[in-house]
């Protein structure tokens, strides 16, 4: 994880309801952090590695990378892709009262991060 990406994440997270986050660089390098005992970093890394493949496949041929929301019984996982191909996954509790604007803002800012921030 680059220092700049680390800084971005640290400045914007955590948010209420956030269980964990993870980033995956285009070279496959993964960083993750869990805010809940049940969401350990290693689990998040494996999870991110797994969805990363599908995210990449579904993003091919798209003019803009899609945004994904994986909905599960207990959690929802938002996945956004930055312009250099870095993925950010946010694991939230599956509840109604989430910080919608903050999540949207964070995902949008991540997607628009200047390339030199990530490189």
């Amino acid at each position: 994880m680059t220092e700049q990406l680390n800084q971005f994440v640290n400045q914007r997270l955590p948010l209420p309801g956030l269980l964990a986050w993870g980033t995956q660089l285009p070279d496959g390098q993964i960083a993750s952090h869990g805010y809940n005992d049940r969401f350990r970093g290693s689990q998040i890394s494996e999870f991110l590695r797994s969805i990363g493949t599908m995210t990449q496949a579904l993003s091919q041929g798209q003019s803009e990378p899609p945004r994904f929301c994986w909905k599960f019984q207990l959690a929802r996982v938002y996945v956004a892709t930055a312009r250099d191909g870095t993925n950010l996954a946010l694991f939230f509790r599956n509840e109604e009262k989430l910080m919608a604007e903050a999540i949207a803002s964070l995902l949008s800012d991540f997607e628009q991060l200047p390339l030199d921030t990530l490189a």
């Binding site: 049940r38 797994s50 798209q62 929301c69 919608a100 995902l107 949008s108």
Partner: protein
């Protein structure tokens, strides 16, 4: 009122797992403030012994037991103690098991809890059930088992019936004929709008009644599509604020090929959405229905990959069972659901800016 709350409720839990029995009984007694009286039985013989001696509001049966298993016991109870409210618990909550149990007369089919939240949810469900006097016919409380599941079962079984839903505010009915949803009415609403409104209810009681011809036939769509749309609308209404701001569009009015349901849920913001494609497959991936899909192979492959991926993902982190994947690009949104019974994909296109419904 106070006397009613203090009423002791009688439960019989039947499970060959003594540790689970002890833990569940202790926990539920504690949660009830000792207003639950719980008998526990390790096998059918012990259970029948209890039933011969006393009266129980609810019997909770484990599905997987050696010898006479839960389903056999359920059938036995249906003959020996008709009208007894039986709830099935299973550590392996497959759709097939659920279907068998509900068809055999279980009131509810629940997954065995594995967390504090799970125990709390089951406690609330059983507590509500115990308050409900057993009427003639099938009835239930909308908590763990939703109306959608009941409707799905009726449709899959090609039943002919009326699903009546009663809340403190409305009485609504859904007419099912030979497994097809043909009419719905809720207050002044009729047709698909009424169906979606009913399925969006968060609580109430329902029962299956003998069929009688509706005043008119207002619904013609395939039940799978109707239920999927209802689930989507319900979910989006629940998460309206979140999703409208996080990039997952709100959808109160739907325009689908051959379908006009733009009335939406009264009084809420409305935005027209055009359904671009629909693909419905069986649990094994056989194509059952498609509409306007530009590349069936591509979509079926996506659902197959998703199915495999979901199995892997749910084992990697404690996220619970998979519900759906939503993929959003500007102006378009694809929702994909896969489960052992069905695989479903629908892509919609936003047709403009939200406006206030009249």
């Amino acid at each position: 009122m106070e006397a009613e709350t203090a009423k002791v409720k009688h439960f019989l839990f039947v499970d060959d797992d003594a540790v689970f029995l002890e833990a569940a009984a202790s926990l539920f007694r504690e949660m009830s403030g000792n207003h639950w009286e719980i008998a526990t039985a390790l096998n059918h013989a012990q259970a029948l012994g209890y039933l011969a001696k006393g009266r129980f509001d609810v019997v909770v049966l484990d599905v997987g037991m050696p010898g006479v298993d839960g389903i056999q016991m359920l059938r036995l109870l249906g003959k020996a103690h008709p009208g007894l409210q039986v709830v099935m618990l299973s550590g392996i909550a497959t759709e097939e098991r659920r279907r068998i149990c509900l068809e055999a007369g279980a009131l509810l089919f629940l997954e065995k809890p594995s967390s504090a939240d799970g125990y709390a949810s089951i406690f609330a469900t059983l507590d509500t059930l115990a308050e409900t006097a057993a009427d003639s016919g099938f009835h239930g409380v909308m908590r763990q088992v939703g109306l959608q599941e009941i409707l799905q079962l009726e449709c899959l079984s090609k039943k002919t019936s009326i699903l009546e839903v009663i809340t403190s505010k409305i009485r609504a009915r859904i007419f099912i004929s030979d497994g097809c949803i043909i009419h719905a009415e809720a207050g002044t609403l009729h047709g698909e709008v009424a169906l979606y409104s009913i399925l969006a209810l968060r609580g109430g009681q329902f029962r299956l009644c003998p069929y009688s011809e509706p005043p008119e036939r207002t619904i013609t769509g395939q039940w799978e599509f109707l239920l999927m749309e209802a689930a989507r609308i319900c979910d989006e209404n629940a998460h309206e604020n979140l999703e409208s701001n996080v990039g997952f569009s709100q959808t109160d009015g739907i325009i689908a090929p051959g379908m006009d349901a733009t009335a939406g849920m009264g009084g809420q913001r409305r935005k027209n959405v055009q359904i671009e494609e629909i693909v419905l497959c069986s649990g094994n991936g056989e194509l059952l229905f498609d509409s306007n899909c530009p590349s069936i192979e591509n979509r079926m492959q996506l659902m197959q990959v998703l199915r495999e991926q979901v199995e892997e993902l749910t084992g990697l982190a404690p996220v619970g069972s998979f519900d759906r994947l939503e993929i959003t690009v500007p102006g378009f949104r694809t929702v994909c659901q896969v489960n052992p019974e069905r695989r479903f994909l629908v892509t919609s296109r936003s047709l403009g800016q939200p406006e206030l419904a009249s």
